[in-house]
Symmetry: none
Subunit: 244 residues, 2 copies
DNA sequence: CTGATTCGTGCAATATCACGCATAAGCAAG
DNA sequence: CTTGCTTATGCGTGATATTGCACGAATCAG
Protein backbone atom coordinates (compact mmCIF):
# COMPACT_ATOMS: atom_id res chain seq x y z
CA UNK A 1 0.00 0.00 0.00
CA UNK A 2 1.46 3.34 -1.05
CA UNK A 3 1.71 6.00 1.61
CA UNK A 4 0.00 8.66 -0.47
CA UNK A 5 -2.77 6.25 -1.36
CA UNK A 6 -3.33 5.40 2.28
CA UNK A 7 -3.59 9.06 3.19
CA UNK A 8 -6.10 9.66 0.41
CA UNK A 9 -8.12 6.72 1.68
CA UNK A 10 -8.08 8.16 5.18
CA UNK A 11 -9.45 11.45 3.93
CA UNK A 12 -12.09 9.68 1.89
CA UNK A 13 -13.13 7.67 4.88
CA UNK A 14 -13.20 10.72 7.10
CA UNK A 15 -15.42 12.49 4.63
CA UNK A 16 -17.75 9.54 4.42
CA UNK A 17 -18.01 8.61 8.10
CA UNK A 18 -17.24 11.86 9.84
CA UNK A 19 -14.51 10.43 12.07
CA UNK A 20 -11.48 8.17 12.08
CA UNK A 21 -10.36 5.72 14.76
CA UNK A 22 -6.64 4.97 14.68
CA UNK A 23 -6.79 1.53 16.19
CA UNK A 24 -9.36 0.07 13.85
CA UNK A 25 -7.72 1.57 10.78
CA UNK A 26 -4.36 0.04 11.65
CA UNK A 27 -5.87 -3.40 11.76
CA UNK A 28 -7.96 -2.86 8.67
CA UNK A 29 -5.08 -1.56 6.57
CA UNK A 30 -2.58 -4.06 7.88
CA UNK A 31 -0.11 -1.55 9.25
CA UNK A 32 1.03 -0.59 12.70
CA UNK A 33 -0.83 1.97 14.71
CA UNK A 34 2.24 4.18 14.62
CA UNK A 35 1.95 4.52 10.89
CA UNK A 36 -1.67 5.55 11.09
CA UNK A 37 -0.89 8.05 13.81
CA UNK A 38 1.91 9.46 11.72
CA UNK A 39 -0.44 9.84 8.77
CA UNK A 40 -3.04 11.57 10.88
CA UNK A 41 -0.41 13.88 12.35
CA UNK A 42 0.83 14.86 8.92
CA UNK A 43 -2.65 15.37 7.51
CA UNK A 44 -3.48 17.50 10.52
CA UNK A 45 -0.35 19.58 9.92
CA UNK A 46 -1.64 20.21 6.40
CA UNK A 47 -4.92 21.40 7.82
CA UNK A 48 -6.93 18.60 6.21
CA UNK A 49 -8.30 17.20 9.45
CA UNK A 50 -8.28 17.80 13.19
CA UNK A 51 -6.38 15.42 15.41
CA UNK A 52 -8.18 14.17 18.52
CA UNK A 53 -7.31 11.55 21.10
CA UNK A 54 -7.85 8.17 19.50
CA UNK A 55 -8.31 9.32 15.94
CA UNK A 56 -9.31 12.36 13.92
CA UNK A 57 -12.28 14.55 13.02
CA UNK A 58 -12.97 16.81 10.00
CA UNK A 59 -11.05 20.07 9.86
CA UNK A 60 -12.38 22.75 12.13
CA UNK A 61 -15.23 24.61 10.46
CA UNK A 62 -14.15 28.00 11.83
CA UNK A 63 -12.56 29.18 8.64
CA UNK A 64 -14.72 27.44 6.14
CA UNK A 65 -14.98 29.04 2.69
CA UNK A 66 -17.42 31.86 2.20
CA UNK A 67 -19.79 29.93 0.01
CA UNK A 68 -20.78 27.75 2.95
CA UNK A 69 -21.44 30.75 5.10
CA UNK A 70 -23.80 32.16 2.50
CA UNK A 71 -26.41 29.51 3.28
CA UNK A 72 -27.77 31.15 6.36
CA UNK A 73 -30.35 33.86 6.33
CA UNK A 74 -30.90 33.64 2.63
CA UNK A 75 -34.10 35.60 2.53
CA UNK A 76 -32.91 38.47 4.72
CA UNK A 77 -29.76 38.81 2.66
CA UNK A 78 -31.69 38.76 -0.57
CA UNK A 79 -34.11 41.43 0.59
CA UNK A 80 -31.25 43.59 1.73
CA UNK A 81 -29.56 43.00 -1.61
CA UNK A 82 -32.60 44.15 -3.55
CA UNK A 83 -32.90 47.24 -1.39
CA UNK A 84 -29.22 48.04 -1.82
CA UNK A 85 -29.33 47.52 -5.57
CA UNK A 86 -32.19 49.98 -5.83
CA UNK A 87 -30.02 52.68 -4.31
CA UNK A 88 -27.54 52.69 -7.15
CA UNK A 89 -28.58 55.24 -9.75
CA UNK A 90 -27.30 55.24 -13.36
CA UNK A 91 -24.11 57.17 -13.76
CA UNK A 92 -23.08 56.94 -10.13
CA UNK A 93 -19.74 55.77 -8.84
CA UNK A 94 -20.15 53.29 -5.99
CA UNK A 95 -17.65 51.59 -3.68
CA UNK A 96 -18.90 48.08 -2.95
CA UNK A 97 -17.44 46.12 -0.04
CA UNK A 98 -17.07 42.34 -0.04
CA UNK A 99 -19.32 39.81 1.67
CA UNK A 100 -22.26 37.59 0.95
CA UNK A 101 -24.87 40.31 1.43
CA UNK A 102 -23.23 42.38 -1.26
CA UNK A 103 -23.04 39.33 -3.49
CA UNK A 104 -26.81 39.20 -3.16
CA UNK A 105 -26.90 42.88 -4.10
CA UNK A 106 -25.01 42.13 -7.30
CA UNK A 107 -27.53 39.40 -8.15
CA UNK A 108 -30.30 41.97 -7.77
CA UNK A 109 -28.76 44.62 -10.05
CA UNK A 110 -30.63 45.45 -13.26
CA UNK A 111 -28.85 43.87 -16.22
CA UNK A 112 -28.51 47.14 -18.14
CA UNK A 113 -27.34 49.39 -15.33
CA UNK A 114 -24.67 51.83 -16.47
CA UNK A 115 -22.58 52.87 -13.48
CA UNK A 116 -19.10 52.53 -12.01
CA UNK A 117 -18.47 49.95 -9.30
CA UNK A 118 -15.28 50.04 -7.27
CA UNK A 119 -14.45 47.00 -5.16
CA UNK A 120 -11.53 45.34 -3.39
CA UNK A 121 -13.25 41.96 -3.43
CA UNK A 122 -12.36 39.67 -6.36
CA UNK A 123 -15.48 37.64 -5.57
CA UNK A 124 -17.67 40.68 -6.13
CA UNK A 125 -15.70 41.68 -9.22
CA UNK A 126 -16.08 38.22 -10.72
CA UNK A 127 -19.83 38.30 -10.05
CA UNK A 128 -20.09 41.58 -11.98
CA UNK A 129 -18.96 39.93 -15.20
CA UNK A 130 -22.42 39.66 -16.83
CA UNK A 131 -23.19 43.37 -16.51
CA UNK A 132 -22.06 44.70 -19.86
CA UNK A 133 -22.58 48.39 -19.16
CA UNK A 134 -20.91 48.54 -15.76
CA UNK A 135 -17.46 49.95 -15.41
CA UNK A 136 -15.66 47.89 -12.77
CA UNK A 137 -12.56 49.09 -10.94
CA UNK A 138 -10.68 46.51 -8.89
CA UNK A 139 -8.57 47.74 -5.99
CA UNK A 140 -5.62 45.42 -5.52
CA UNK A 141 -3.65 44.25 -2.52
CA UNK A 142 -2.85 41.21 -0.45
CA UNK A 143 -5.90 39.00 -0.26
CA UNK A 144 -7.20 38.15 3.17
CA UNK A 145 -8.44 34.60 2.99
CA UNK A 146 -11.31 34.65 5.45
CA UNK A 147 -13.18 37.63 4.07
CA UNK A 148 -11.77 37.47 0.53
CA UNK A 149 -10.96 41.17 0.20
CA UNK A 150 -7.71 42.94 -0.62
CA UNK A 151 -5.91 44.58 2.29
CA UNK A 152 -2.68 46.39 3.00
CA UNK A 153 -0.89 49.55 1.95
CA UNK A 154 -1.60 49.10 -1.75
CA UNK A 155 -5.32 48.79 -1.09
CA UNK A 156 -5.21 51.82 1.18
CA UNK A 157 -3.49 53.84 -1.54
CA UNK A 158 -5.93 52.59 -4.16
CA UNK A 159 -8.95 53.83 -2.22
CA UNK A 160 -7.20 57.07 -1.32
CA UNK A 161 -6.95 57.95 -5.01
CA UNK A 162 -10.70 57.66 -5.47
CA UNK A 163 -13.81 59.75 -4.85
CA UNK A 164 -17.12 57.91 -5.05
CA UNK A 165 -20.72 59.01 -4.65
CA UNK A 166 -21.54 56.20 -2.29
CA UNK A 167 -19.93 53.42 -0.29
CA UNK A 168 -21.88 50.27 0.54
CA UNK A 169 -20.04 48.97 3.55
CA UNK A 170 -19.98 45.58 5.25
CA UNK A 171 -19.64 45.40 9.03
CA UNK A 172 -19.81 42.66 11.64
CA UNK A 173 -21.42 44.75 14.35
CA UNK A 174 -23.65 47.80 14.92
CA UNK A 175 -23.64 48.91 18.51
CA UNK A 176 -25.08 52.06 20.15
CA UNK A 177 -21.74 52.99 21.67
CA UNK A 178 -19.12 51.11 19.64
CA UNK A 179 -20.69 52.16 16.34
CA UNK A 180 -19.79 50.27 13.19
CA UNK A 181 -17.20 47.62 13.94
CA UNK A 182 -15.34 44.72 12.35
CA UNK A 183 -13.22 41.90 13.72
CA UNK A 184 -9.94 42.54 11.93
CA UNK A 185 -7.67 45.49 12.46
CA UNK A 186 -6.43 45.80 8.90
CA UNK A 187 -9.93 45.45 7.55
CA UNK A 188 -11.05 48.26 9.81
CA UNK A 189 -8.32 50.51 8.45
CA UNK A 190 -9.39 49.87 4.88
CA UNK A 191 -13.08 50.27 5.62
CA UNK A 192 -12.37 53.62 7.31
CA UNK A 193 -10.57 54.73 4.18
CA UNK A 194 -13.51 53.57 2.04
CA UNK A 195 -15.90 55.67 4.08
CA UNK A 196 -13.66 58.70 3.68
CA UNK A 197 -13.54 58.24 -0.08
CA UNK A 198 -17.32 58.29 -0.50
CA UNK A 199 -19.91 61.02 -0.15
CA UNK A 200 -22.42 58.77 1.54
CA UNK A 201 -22.07 55.48 3.40
CA UNK A 202 -24.70 52.73 3.35
CA UNK A 203 -24.71 49.67 5.60
CA UNK A 204 -26.89 46.68 4.77
CA UNK A 205 -27.21 44.95 8.12
CA UNK A 206 -28.65 41.49 8.73
CA UNK A 207 -30.46 41.25 12.11
CA UNK A 208 -27.65 39.28 13.79
CA UNK A 209 -25.36 42.31 13.47
CA UNK A 210 -27.68 44.64 15.34
CA UNK A 211 -26.44 45.28 18.86
CA UNK A 212 -23.19 43.37 18.28
CA UNK A 213 -19.78 44.93 18.72
CA UNK A 214 -16.51 43.63 17.29
CA UNK A 215 -13.02 44.67 18.30
CA UNK A 216 -12.23 47.46 15.84
CA UNK A 217 -14.28 50.55 15.11
CA UNK A 218 -14.81 51.84 11.59
CA UNK A 219 -17.10 54.80 12.15
CA UNK A 220 -19.95 56.05 14.28
CA UNK A 221 -23.51 54.97 13.61
CA UNK A 222 -24.43 58.51 12.61
CA UNK A 223 -21.97 58.50 9.73
CA UNK A 224 -23.84 55.83 7.78
CA UNK A 225 -27.30 55.22 6.46
CA UNK A 226 -28.38 51.87 7.92
CA UNK A 227 -30.73 49.51 6.15
CA UNK A 228 -31.84 46.43 8.03
CA UNK A 229 -34.66 43.92 8.45
CA UNK A 230 -36.66 43.00 11.52
CA UNK A 231 -37.52 45.04 14.59
CA UNK A 232 -35.82 48.44 14.89
CA UNK A 233 -34.10 49.00 18.23
CA UNK A 234 -34.72 52.44 19.71
CA UNK A 235 -31.10 53.49 19.40
CA UNK A 236 -31.27 53.23 15.61
CA UNK A 237 -33.70 56.03 14.88
CA UNK A 238 -32.49 56.92 11.42
CA UNK A 239 -32.36 53.37 10.07
CA UNK A 240 -34.55 52.13 7.28
CA UNK A 241 -36.27 48.86 8.14
CA UNK A 242 -37.52 46.40 5.55
CA UNK A 243 -40.60 44.47 6.48
CA UNK A 244 -40.56 40.72 6.13
CA UNK B 1 9.98 -2.98 -25.43
CA UNK B 2 9.74 0.52 -26.87
CA UNK B 3 9.75 3.37 -24.42
CA UNK B 4 6.57 4.97 -25.74
CA UNK B 5 4.84 1.60 -25.70
CA UNK B 6 5.84 1.03 -22.10
CA UNK B 7 4.60 4.45 -21.05
CA UNK B 8 1.26 3.83 -22.73
CA UNK B 9 1.00 0.55 -20.86
CA UNK B 10 1.72 2.30 -17.59
CA UNK B 11 -1.09 4.78 -18.19
CA UNK B 12 -3.45 1.98 -19.13
CA UNK B 13 -2.59 0.12 -16.00
CA UNK B 14 -2.95 3.20 -13.85
CA UNK B 15 -6.36 3.83 -15.35
CA UNK B 16 -7.44 0.28 -14.68
CA UNK B 17 -6.05 -0.24 -11.19
CA UNK B 18 -5.94 3.26 -9.76
CA UNK B 19 -2.28 3.07 -8.76
CA UNK B 20 1.15 1.99 -9.91
CA UNK B 21 3.89 0.38 -7.84
CA UNK B 22 7.34 0.93 -9.29
CA UNK B 23 8.94 -2.21 -7.99
CA UNK B 24 6.30 -4.63 -9.17
CA UNK B 25 6.19 -3.06 -12.62
CA UNK B 26 9.94 -3.33 -13.02
CA UNK B 27 9.83 -7.03 -12.38
CA UNK B 28 6.77 -7.56 -14.50
CA UNK B 29 8.14 -5.68 -17.50
CA UNK B 30 11.62 -7.08 -17.17
CA UNK B 31 13.36 -3.75 -16.82
CA UNK B 32 15.20 -2.05 -14.03
CA UNK B 33 13.38 0.01 -11.45
CA UNK B 34 15.28 3.06 -12.66
CA UNK B 35 13.63 2.85 -16.03
CA UNK B 36 10.18 2.67 -14.50
CA UNK B 37 10.97 5.57 -12.21
CA UNK B 38 12.20 7.59 -15.17
CA UNK B 39 8.99 6.86 -17.03
CA UNK B 40 6.88 7.87 -14.06
CA UNK B 41 8.87 11.06 -13.61
CA UNK B 42 8.36 12.02 -17.24
CA UNK B 43 4.66 11.18 -17.26
CA UNK B 44 4.24 13.23 -14.10
CA UNK B 45 5.93 16.19 -15.79
CA UNK B 46 3.32 15.92 -18.53
CA UNK B 47 0.58 16.01 -15.94
CA UNK B 48 -0.70 12.53 -16.77
CA UNK B 49 -0.18 11.13 -13.29
CA UNK B 50 0.97 12.13 -9.83
CA UNK B 51 4.26 10.81 -8.60
CA UNK B 52 4.28 9.49 -5.04
CA UNK B 53 6.81 7.59 -2.99
CA UNK B 54 6.77 4.02 -4.20
CA UNK B 55 4.91 4.55 -7.45
CA UNK B 56 2.23 6.82 -8.86
CA UNK B 57 -1.43 7.75 -8.47
CA UNK B 58 -3.91 9.28 -10.95
CA UNK B 59 -3.48 12.98 -11.66
CA UNK B 60 -6.92 13.68 -10.26
CA UNK B 61 -6.87 16.86 -8.20
CA UNK B 62 -7.46 16.25 -4.53
CA UNK B 63 -10.58 18.33 -4.15
CA UNK B 64 -12.50 16.62 -6.91
CA UNK B 65 -14.77 13.68 -6.12
CA UNK B 66 -12.32 10.82 -6.51
CA UNK B 67 -14.94 8.21 -7.23
CA UNK B 68 -15.43 9.19 -10.83
CA UNK B 69 -11.80 8.91 -11.74
CA UNK B 70 -12.19 6.22 -14.36
CA UNK B 71 -14.71 7.40 -16.89
CA UNK B 72 -14.21 11.07 -17.43
CA UNK B 73 -12.10 12.21 -20.31
CA UNK B 74 -9.69 14.98 -19.56
CA UNK B 75 -9.74 17.84 -22.01
CA UNK B 76 -6.67 19.47 -23.44
CA UNK B 77 -7.25 22.44 -21.17
CA UNK B 78 -7.34 20.27 -18.08
CA UNK B 79 -4.16 18.50 -19.06
CA UNK B 80 -2.44 21.81 -19.68
CA UNK B 81 -3.72 22.92 -16.30
CA UNK B 82 -2.27 19.88 -14.57
CA UNK B 83 1.07 20.34 -16.31
CA UNK B 84 1.12 24.02 -15.41
CA UNK B 85 0.19 23.36 -11.79
CA UNK B 86 3.07 20.92 -11.53
CA UNK B 87 5.50 23.73 -12.43
CA UNK B 88 4.69 25.77 -9.34
CA UNK B 89 7.06 24.79 -6.55
CA UNK B 90 6.44 25.53 -2.87
CA UNK B 91 7.71 28.93 -1.83
CA UNK B 92 7.72 30.39 -5.33
CA UNK B 93 6.12 33.66 -6.36
CA UNK B 94 4.11 33.25 -9.54
CA UNK B 95 2.25 35.73 -11.74
CA UNK B 96 -0.88 34.03 -13.08
CA UNK B 97 -2.72 35.56 -16.04
CA UNK B 98 -6.50 35.27 -16.50
CA UNK B 99 -8.35 32.88 -18.77
CA UNK B 100 -10.07 29.52 -18.68
CA UNK B 101 -6.89 27.48 -19.12
CA UNK B 102 -5.46 29.09 -16.01
CA UNK B 103 -8.72 28.45 -14.20
CA UNK B 104 -8.14 24.79 -14.99
CA UNK B 105 -4.63 25.20 -13.58
CA UNK B 106 -6.09 26.47 -10.32
CA UNK B 107 -8.39 23.45 -10.14
CA UNK B 108 -5.33 21.22 -10.48
CA UNK B 109 -3.30 22.87 -7.72
CA UNK B 110 -2.55 20.72 -4.67
CA UNK B 111 -4.77 21.77 -1.77
CA UNK B 112 -1.87 22.43 0.57
CA UNK B 113 0.49 24.29 -1.76
CA UNK B 114 2.28 27.11 0.03
CA UNK B 115 3.27 29.76 -2.51
CA UNK B 116 2.49 33.32 -3.58
CA UNK B 117 0.17 33.90 -6.52
CA UNK B 118 -0.11 37.31 -8.13
CA UNK B 119 -2.98 37.94 -10.53
CA UNK B 120 -4.91 40.78 -12.12
CA UNK B 121 -7.90 38.54 -12.75
CA UNK B 122 -10.62 38.64 -10.07
CA UNK B 123 -11.96 35.38 -11.48
CA UNK B 124 -8.66 33.63 -10.80
CA UNK B 125 -8.38 35.30 -7.39
CA UNK B 126 -11.87 34.14 -6.43
CA UNK B 127 -11.06 30.59 -7.51
CA UNK B 128 -8.03 30.60 -5.22
CA UNK B 129 -10.21 30.96 -2.14
CA UNK B 130 -10.08 27.31 -0.99
CA UNK B 131 -6.28 27.19 -0.89
CA UNK B 132 -5.57 28.00 2.72
CA UNK B 133 -1.80 28.23 2.43
CA UNK B 134 -1.53 30.37 -0.67
CA UNK B 135 -0.74 34.03 -0.41
CA UNK B 136 -2.77 35.83 -3.06
CA UNK B 137 -1.93 39.30 -4.32
CA UNK B 138 -4.54 41.01 -6.48
CA UNK B 139 -3.37 43.68 -8.90
CA UNK B 140 -6.09 46.27 -9.32
CA UNK B 141 -7.22 48.42 -12.21
CA UNK B 142 -10.10 49.03 -14.57
CA UNK B 143 -11.70 45.71 -15.42
CA UNK B 144 -11.88 44.79 -19.07
CA UNK B 145 -15.18 43.03 -19.55
CA UNK B 146 -14.36 40.51 -22.24
CA UNK B 147 -11.27 38.98 -20.69
CA UNK B 148 -12.06 39.85 -17.05
CA UNK B 149 -8.63 41.17 -16.16
CA UNK B 150 -7.57 44.52 -14.72
CA UNK B 151 -5.94 46.94 -17.15
CA UNK B 152 -4.65 50.49 -17.24
CA UNK B 153 -2.03 52.61 -15.55
CA UNK B 154 -2.75 51.31 -12.04
CA UNK B 155 -2.33 47.72 -13.18
CA UNK B 156 0.85 48.62 -15.01
CA UNK B 157 2.21 50.24 -11.87
CA UNK B 158 1.14 47.30 -9.75
CA UNK B 159 3.09 44.82 -11.84
CA UNK B 160 6.05 47.15 -12.12
CA UNK B 161 6.50 46.98 -8.34
CA UNK B 162 6.83 43.21 -8.38
CA UNK B 163 9.49 40.61 -9.07
CA UNK B 164 8.21 37.06 -9.49
CA UNK B 165 9.94 33.77 -10.15
CA UNK B 166 7.62 32.83 -12.95
CA UNK B 167 4.85 34.26 -15.11
CA UNK B 168 2.22 31.95 -16.56
CA UNK B 169 0.95 33.97 -19.50
CA UNK B 170 -2.17 33.68 -21.63
CA UNK B 171 -1.97 34.55 -25.32
CA UNK B 172 -4.34 34.33 -28.28
CA UNK B 173 -1.71 33.44 -30.84
CA UNK B 174 1.70 31.82 -31.28
CA UNK B 175 3.20 32.52 -34.68
CA UNK B 176 6.70 31.82 -36.04
CA UNK B 177 7.19 35.46 -37.03
CA UNK B 178 4.69 37.43 -34.97
CA UNK B 179 5.63 35.60 -31.78
CA UNK B 180 3.26 35.74 -28.80
CA UNK B 181 0.30 37.99 -29.59
CA UNK B 182 -3.03 39.15 -28.21
CA UNK B 183 -6.01 40.98 -29.65
CA UNK B 184 -6.14 44.05 -27.42
CA UNK B 185 -3.58 46.81 -27.26
CA UNK B 186 -3.92 47.55 -23.56
CA UNK B 187 -3.79 43.88 -22.71
CA UNK B 188 -0.60 43.55 -24.71
CA UNK B 189 0.96 46.38 -22.70
CA UNK B 190 0.11 44.73 -19.41
CA UNK B 191 1.24 41.29 -20.54
CA UNK B 192 4.55 42.75 -21.68
CA UNK B 193 4.97 44.24 -18.24
CA UNK B 194 4.11 40.89 -16.63
CA UNK B 195 6.81 39.15 -18.65
CA UNK B 196 9.34 41.77 -17.59
CA UNK B 197 8.46 41.28 -13.92
CA UNK B 198 9.13 37.56 -13.95
CA UNK B 199 12.28 35.52 -14.22
CA UNK B 200 10.73 32.93 -16.49
CA UNK B 201 7.66 33.00 -18.72
CA UNK B 202 5.46 29.99 -19.34
CA UNK B 203 2.71 29.78 -21.97
CA UNK B 204 0.12 27.02 -21.80
CA UNK B 205 -1.15 26.90 -25.39
CA UNK B 206 -4.20 25.00 -26.60
CA UNK B 207 -3.73 23.71 -30.15
CA UNK B 208 -5.99 26.35 -31.73
CA UNK B 209 -3.52 29.05 -30.77
CA UNK B 210 -0.61 27.45 -32.63
CA UNK B 211 0.14 29.28 -35.85
CA UNK B 212 -2.35 32.06 -35.13
CA UNK B 213 -1.32 35.72 -34.97
CA UNK B 214 -3.32 38.52 -33.36
CA UNK B 215 -2.77 42.24 -33.77
CA UNK B 216 -0.47 43.10 -30.88
CA UNK B 217 2.81 41.46 -30.02
CA UNK B 218 3.72 40.66 -26.42
CA UNK B 219 7.08 38.96 -26.84
CA UNK B 220 9.04 36.67 -29.13
CA UNK B 221 8.55 32.93 -29.03
CA UNK B 222 12.05 32.46 -27.68
CA UNK B 223 11.28 34.47 -24.56
CA UNK B 224 8.81 31.93 -23.19
CA UNK B 225 8.69 28.28 -22.38
CA UNK B 226 5.80 26.88 -24.41
CA UNK B 227 3.73 23.92 -23.25
CA UNK B 228 1.11 22.61 -25.64
CA UNK B 229 -0.77 19.52 -26.77
CA UNK B 230 -1.01 17.86 -30.12
CA UNK B 231 1.41 17.86 -33.02
CA UNK B 232 4.47 20.09 -32.66
CA UNK B 233 5.05 22.35 -35.66
CA UNK B 234 8.69 22.48 -36.78
CA UNK B 235 9.03 26.16 -35.85
CA UNK B 236 8.41 25.39 -32.18
CA UNK B 237 11.48 23.33 -31.43
CA UNK B 238 11.77 24.16 -27.76
CA UNK B 239 8.16 23.51 -26.80
CA UNK B 240 7.07 20.75 -24.49
CA UNK B 241 4.30 18.66 -26.01
CA UNK B 242 1.85 16.64 -23.93
CA UNK B 243 0.72 13.36 -25.39
CA UNK B 244 -2.96 12.67 -25.85
C1' DC C 1 -6.55 7.75 42.38
C1' DT C 2 -5.28 4.02 39.30
C1' DG C 3 -4.84 1.28 35.37
C1' DA C 4 -5.18 1.32 30.59
C1' DT C 5 -4.82 3.71 26.25
C1' DT C 6 -2.94 6.78 23.42
C1' DC C 7 0.67 9.99 22.16
C1' DG C 8 5.17 11.80 20.70
C1' DT C 9 9.99 11.10 20.03
C1' DG C 10 14.26 8.85 19.09
C1' DC C 11 16.27 5.09 16.66
C1' DA C 12 17.52 1.55 13.45
C1' DA C 13 16.35 -1.32 9.37
C1' DT C 14 14.71 -1.22 4.99
C1' DA C 15 12.89 0.76 0.75
C1' DT C 16 12.87 4.19 -2.45
C1' DC C 17 14.79 8.13 -4.78
C1' DA C 18 17.71 11.23 -7.76
C1' DC C 19 21.93 11.90 -9.97
C1' DG C 20 26.09 10.90 -12.51
C1' DC C 21 28.43 7.83 -15.44
C1' DA C 22 29.27 4.24 -18.75
C1' DT C 23 27.46 1.27 -22.22
C1' DA C 24 24.74 0.11 -26.05
C1' DA C 25 21.51 0.95 -29.68
C1' DG C 26 19.47 3.88 -33.20
C1' DC C 27 20.08 7.38 -36.68
C1' DA C 28 21.68 10.85 -39.92
C1' DA C 29 25.33 12.94 -42.54
C1' DG C 30 29.43 12.44 -44.87
C1' DC D 1 31.22 2.16 -43.93
C1' DT D 2 32.46 5.47 -40.67
C1' DT D 3 31.79 9.20 -37.64
C1' DG D 4 29.36 11.84 -34.49
C1' DC D 5 25.17 12.63 -32.12
C1' DT D 6 21.09 11.49 -29.55
C1' DT D 7 18.38 8.44 -26.75
C1' DA D 8 17.54 4.64 -23.73
C1' DT D 9 19.15 1.76 -20.23
C1' DG D 10 21.46 -0.25 -16.13
C1' DC D 11 24.38 0.30 -12.16
C1' DG D 12 26.67 2.56 -8.22
C1' DT D 13 26.25 5.90 -4.67
C1' DG D 14 24.79 8.95 -1.37
C1' DA D 15 20.50 11.07 0.15
C1' DT D 16 15.75 10.75 1.62
C1' DA D 17 11.37 8.46 3.04
C1' DT D 18 8.87 5.02 5.36
C1' DT D 19 8.04 1.86 8.83
C1' DG D 20 7.93 -0.64 13.23
C1' DC D 21 9.55 -0.76 17.86
C1' DA D 22 10.89 0.94 22.52
C1' DC D 23 10.13 4.08 26.14
C1' DG D 24 8.49 7.82 28.90
C1' DA D 25 4.82 11.39 29.02
C1' DA D 26 0.16 12.73 28.46
C1' DT D 27 -4.65 11.63 28.51
C1' DC D 28 -8.80 9.15 29.41
C1' DA D 29 -12.24 6.19 32.05
C1' DG D 30 -14.05 4.50 36.10
Amino acid sequence: MLTAQRKALLLDRLHAEGRLVARGLAEELGTSEDTIRRDLRELAAEGLLTRVHGGALPASPTHRPMRERSNMEVSAKQRLGVAGAALIRPGQTVILDGGTTHLALVQALPATLAATIITHSPTIAAALEPFARLEVIVIGGRLMRHSMVALGAATQAGFAAIRADMCILGVTGLHPEAGLTTGDHEEALIKRRMVQSAGETIVLATPDKIGAASAFQIAGLEEARIITTGEPPDWLPRAQHLRA
